[in-house]
């Protein structure tokens, strides 16, 4: 089972290109409000995360993923449970 910190670190890597110049990321950073991701970018982000972790992320859970921390927790749940 991957640790929270290792997943968080990988998510930071994936998200860094989406961050605004000079913006630092934290667990409480909000994907839409703070990063300003539009629906197209969110979908692209999702694909990148799916590739990196070799999982399929159901779109149904997207409304519950507000912050980076939400994303990490859901991802750990998906990675550790058989789909």
């Amino acid at each position: 089972m991957p640790s929270y910190d290792s997943v968080l670190s990988e998510i930071y890597e994936v998200l860094q290109p989406f961050a605004k110049e000079g913006q630092s990321l934290s667990e409480e950073t909000e994907l839409v409000t703070d990063l300003g991701l539009d629906s197209v970018q969110v979908m692209e982000l999702l694909l990148q995360i799916e590739d990196r972790f070799d999982v399929s992320i159901p779109l149904n859970i997207m409304p519950d993923m507000r912050t980076i921390k939400d994303l990490v927790l859901r991802l750990i749940a998906i990675v550790t449970q058989p789909q």
Binding site: V40, M43, S56, L59, Q83
Partner: protein, 400 residues
């Protein structure tokens, strides 16, 4: 904070558009002169954005059938088939659709949008999985959202990505419905259907193909990509619409599976809405007969489609991935596409404006749709319009 707070971004975008003096989403076609010509802002325009693929909206047989139906059966059914009764025309159209596809079962819905909503919200439920192509139409996404099934996207037209996701599902693959389209509505490309069918068979999943933009367009008999790819006996559900090649309004699903008849009793977008009016049913039946017996319409459509696609390529435009009656011209920015769309309309050419997130990958498009009813001279006139657009608006923008 009010219930309208969520519309702030939309309101700002709308205000920006209106301030530019262009309202692309408020175009009024003051007069519709033929399947390919109308009057907008007092000027005659060539319609190259109507999805009227076979040009049947003014067909005399379709009009006569609709007129007779109105006179004999009235203007509307005033209710749903479940609650208020089925007209014989509804049953006849379902039988004719089933015969046309060579499947035993068919359901008619009141619109194409409702056909997807009705099928997807009912076919799958909690515990099931939907694997949908990322570029699927909004009606497919909306139907999936209503279903309570787990909804997973795969990369557009990427069979390896689809297979990877089926493999991850393990035993749940047999509870999975794969969703693809015959021709995708924005870029005009078709699904690699034979390969998709092979994968779905390998994993024991189900497959629904939306042929909204491919009915009457692909296949020797006009039955769509499923016919063209030679997989009609291996597809579980085909959804389509009457509002494009058939020139009316409505939708349908046909299937070789007897369970389709059960869906009729459970699908809320069928049960709780008014059934198609007699005139719509009559004109659609006439249009389906024409589609099935006039292959020259499809030939003319493709001749026009290739003419426009190749002509735009020759002018240096970036177009969709393959020739198709949906010809997408890909522009570089929102400002550019707005200026170009406006220029074309002012010069007598109506195409569809597509702004992000309406097209895949956030693209800005001038979306054209070709008709069998376009004359070669009209296609030439459209190309001339695009040529002067390139030499004026685009040349100025490049120089800046």
């Amino acid at each position: 904070m009010t219930i309208f707070a969520k519309f702030q971004t939309l309101a700002a975008n709308r205000a920006e558009l209106l301030a530019s003096g262009i309202n692309p989403f408020g175009v009024v076609i003051e007069q519709i002169c033929s399947p390919t010509e109308g009057v907008v802002n007092g000027h005659r325009v060539i319609l190259v954005g109507t999805n009227n693929y076979l040009g049947l909206t003014f067909d005399p047989d379709c009009i006569a059938a609709a007129r007779t139906a109105v006179e004999m059966q009235g203007t509307g059914t005033t209710g749903s088939r479940m609650a208020n009764g089925t007209y014989t025309g509804h049953l006849a159209l379902e039988r004719e659709l089933a015969d046309f596809y060579g499947y035993p079962h068919a359901i008619v819905f009141s619109t194409g949008y409702l056909a997807n909503l009705g099928m997807l919200s009912t076919l799958t439920g909690r515990g099931d999985v939907i694997l949908l192509d990322a570029d699927c139409h909004a009606s497919i996404y909306d139907g999936c959202r209503m279903s309570d099934a787990e909804m997973i996207r795969f990369r557009h037209n990427d069979v390896d990505d689809l297979e990877k996701r089926l493999r991850r599902l393990g035993e749940r693959a047999s509870n999975t419905l794969i969703l693809v389209e015959g021709i995708y509505s924005m870029l005009g490309d078709r699904a690699p259907l034979a390969d998709i069918v092979a994968v779905k068979d390998r994993y024991g999943a189900y497959l629904l193909v939306d042929e909204a933009h491919s009915l009457g367009v692909l296949g020797r008999h006009g039955r769509g990509l499923t016919e063209e790819a030679g997989v009609e006996d291996r597809v579980d559900f085909i959804v389509g619409t009457f509002s494009k090649s058939l020139g009316g309004i409505g939708g349908f699903c046909v299937s070789p599976l007897p369970e389709l008849e059960l869906i009729r009793y459970a699908t809320r977008p069928y049960i709780f809405t008014a059934s198609p009016s007699p005139a719509v049913i009559a004109s659609t039946r006439a249009a389906l007969r024409i589609l099935a017996t006039h292959p020259e319409l499809q030939e003319r459509l493709w001749s026009n489609a290739r003419h426009l696609y190749q002509g735009l390529q020759a002018l240096g435009y970036t177009v969709g991935p393959e020739p198709s009656p949906v010809v997408a011209v890909i522009m570089s920015s929102k400002e550019q596409v707005l200026a170009c769309w406006h220029y074309l309309l002012e010069h007598g050419i109506y195409v569809n404006l597509v702004l992000p997130p309406g097209a895949p990958k956030g693209a800005c498009l001038l979306r054209c749709s070709v008709s069998a009813a376009h004359t070669p001279a009209q296609i030439e006139a459209v190309l001339e319009g695009f040529a002067t657009l390139r030499d004026t608006v685009l040349a100025v923008q490049e120089a800046c």
